[in-house]
């Protein structure tokens, strides 16, 4: 099919505007609709239909002056239609009326209030299955599809899809509230929200060079959410710790790749390339968190980043302190991933053999068999002890498990730098 050039331009413009609105306001629009109906799935469906209408309507009539308002009005109408039809058997007429009134009242607002935090707390409610809370937040607030989420959480896309649907049904049927919990409930509920935000950030971080726009958006969105949480809950040390951790990671983004796009490990990065403004902000956040008197996983991880930055900037080896921080982290959240990093730090203090011994403690964990950093760390330590053949084999597996081509190249270089084996 061919369109006159003007139409094509209008279509592009409409698509770009819709994309921009979607990127900026998707979660906000879902939160707004869902908070009034408690029906997350209907809010999502209505919104996606509203976006489809926009793509059909805007090229012909021109983009509206207030695209968010336009989308909200259309989505509102669709939510009400949906409830009159599909879900009518479940919803009393009285409830339908209240819902319609709530949505009508919403029509007059000029600025859409940000209820994403309330939506996140609904998704992280204790009545929702713990393992689906983070994926649910990613989908509902950030608009990620089940496939992307499944890959981030190493689950099957079909299973994730089904469980997301179930969780949304639970929110609606069980009457889970869309609100920020009371003081006493807050800390436990906040943990699950922070975990989900961090998972979103990690997913975006995989593409460190920032070539993939969708992933870049994910880190930005995650940082935005973390910032939002710290603004709304300024005295929650773990929220501050999470934002600090993200800022530290983000500050080094450009130093993680050289100009040929090759991966540069932390020890070889040029600190001059780091974003010192972000680092300063992270440090200030960690100081603020430290006086609130409650240590936690994210504060410790933030402190570790801070220790790495200090060492690289000053050349002052602080590995003993790093090991201590990992000890604390391991005691708090005993994960094999933490144990690996701790083993690497131990190797810096006590030598590669000590590091390998520390790693041996968790090597039996079956999850590590498919975890690239475990094999890369093992290879590095084995190489230092002179076990060239074993090191080469460990690199081989690490390379086979890596999905980022530049990291793969880096590992291949390391592997080929090993002394030739068998010795010639």
């Amino acid at each position: 099919m061919s369109f006159p050039e003007g139409d094509a331009q209008a279509r592009d413009h409409a698509r770009n505007t819709a994309d921009a609105v979607a990127r900026r306001n998707y979660g906000k629009l879902v939160a707004f609709l869902a908070a009034r109906t408690r029906d997350v799935a209907a809010a999502e469906d209505a919104l996606s239909e509203a976006f489809a209408s926009a793509l059909a309507d805007w090229p012909r009539k021109g983009c509206p002056a207030n695209p968010e308002g336009w989308l909200l009005t259309v989505a509102r109408r669709k939510v009400i239609d949906m409830h009159r039809g599909r879900r009518r058997h479940e919803i009393a007429a009285e409830q339908l009326k209240i819902m319609a009134e709530g949505l009508d009242a919403a029509a007059t607002v000029t600025e859409i209030p940000d209820q994403r935090l309330a939506l996140m707390f609904a998704c992280a409610h204790p009545a929702i299955d713990a393992s689906i809370r983070a994926p649910l937040i990613l989908q509902v607030v950030l608009g990620l599809d089940a496939k992307t989420i499944a890959s981030a959480f190493l689950m099957s896309p079909a299973a994730v899809g089904k469980r997301l649907v179930r969780a949304k049904d639970k929110i609606r049927q069980a009457g889970i509230p869309f609100s920020v919990p009371e003081r006493g409930e807050l800390p436990g509920r906040l943990d699950t929200v922070l975990d989900a935000i961090y998972a979103a950030f990690a997913e975006g971080w995989i593409d460190a060079a920032g070539m993939d726009l969708a992933r870049r958006d994910l880190t930005e969105e995650a940082m935005f959410l973390a910032r939002l949480v710290t603004e709304l809950l300024p005295a929650e040390p773990e929220a501050l710790g999470l934002l600090a951790l993200m800022l530290h990671a983000e500050a080094r983004r450009h130093a993680r790749r050289n100009r040929h796009g090759d991966y540069v490990p932390l020890a070889e990065q040029d600190p001059a390339l780091w974003d010192s403004q972000m680092i300063d902000e992270a440090e200030a956040l960690l100081r603020r968190a430290s006086v609130l008197g409650s240590i936690g996983r994210y504060q410790l991880e933030g402190a570790l980043q801070s220790a790495h930055v200090y060492r690289c900037r000053t050349g002052h080896a602080n590995w003993a302190e790093v090991v201590q921080l990992y000890d604390a982290l391991l005691a708090l959240a005993g994960s094999p991933v933490v144990a690996i990093n701790r083993a690497l730090a131990i190797a810096e203090v006590h030598g590669a053999s000590a590091g390998l011994a520390a790693m041996q403690e968790v090597a039996a964990d079956v999850r590590l068999a498919e975890y690239q950093p475990f094999w890369a760390a093992r290879a590095e330590l084995l190489a230092k002890t002179g076990a060239q053949a074993e090191a080469s084999h460990a690199y081989e597996i690490a390379i086979g498990l890596e999905r980022d081509a530049s990291v793969r190249r880096f590992l291949q270089l390391r592997q080929s730098a090993l002394a030739p084996w068998p010795p010639r």
């Binding site: 479940e90 009393a92 007429a93 409610h125 509230p177």
Partner: protein, 117 residues
């Protein structure tokens, strides 16, 4: 929203209590019921006879089959229920956690399927 708070508890438990403990237990339920009434959320409530008084009925091939005993044989049975009308699940959970049944058994919070008017 309406929720049914179902009290699942060990059936033999009550008879193992001393007289004083039983009185204390009754008083706790009375106070709880009073508090629910006072705040205007209680729709109805009842204590049930033990499951040994239960009869199950099913119709197969047009013929009713009547069996003595509860549907599910288990040490724990529903001993009573409260039907409440509250804003949301958090409010229902908060009431469930105050129920004496949550201390000696388990309270299941089940939303009511609201019918179109």
């Amino acid at each position: 929203m309406q929720y049914l708070l179902m009290i699942h508890a060990e059936e033999g438990g009550w008879n193992k209590l001393t007289k004083a403990e039983q009185e204390q237990g009754m008083a706790a339920y009375t106070a709880y019921t009073e508090a629910l009434k006072k705040s205007g959320v209680l729709k109805s409530s009842n204590r049930l006879q033990p499951s040994s008084a239960s009869t199950t009925v099913r119709v197969a091939n047009g013929k009713p089959q009547v069996l003595d005993g509860p549907y599910v044989e288990s040490k724990e049975q529903i001993g009573g229920y409260y039907l409440i009308d509250v804003a949301d699940l958090d409010a229902a959970i908060s009431w469930a956690s105050r129920c004496p049944g949550a201390s000696h058994g388990v309270v299941e919070v089940r939303p009511i399927w609201s019918m179109p008017a």
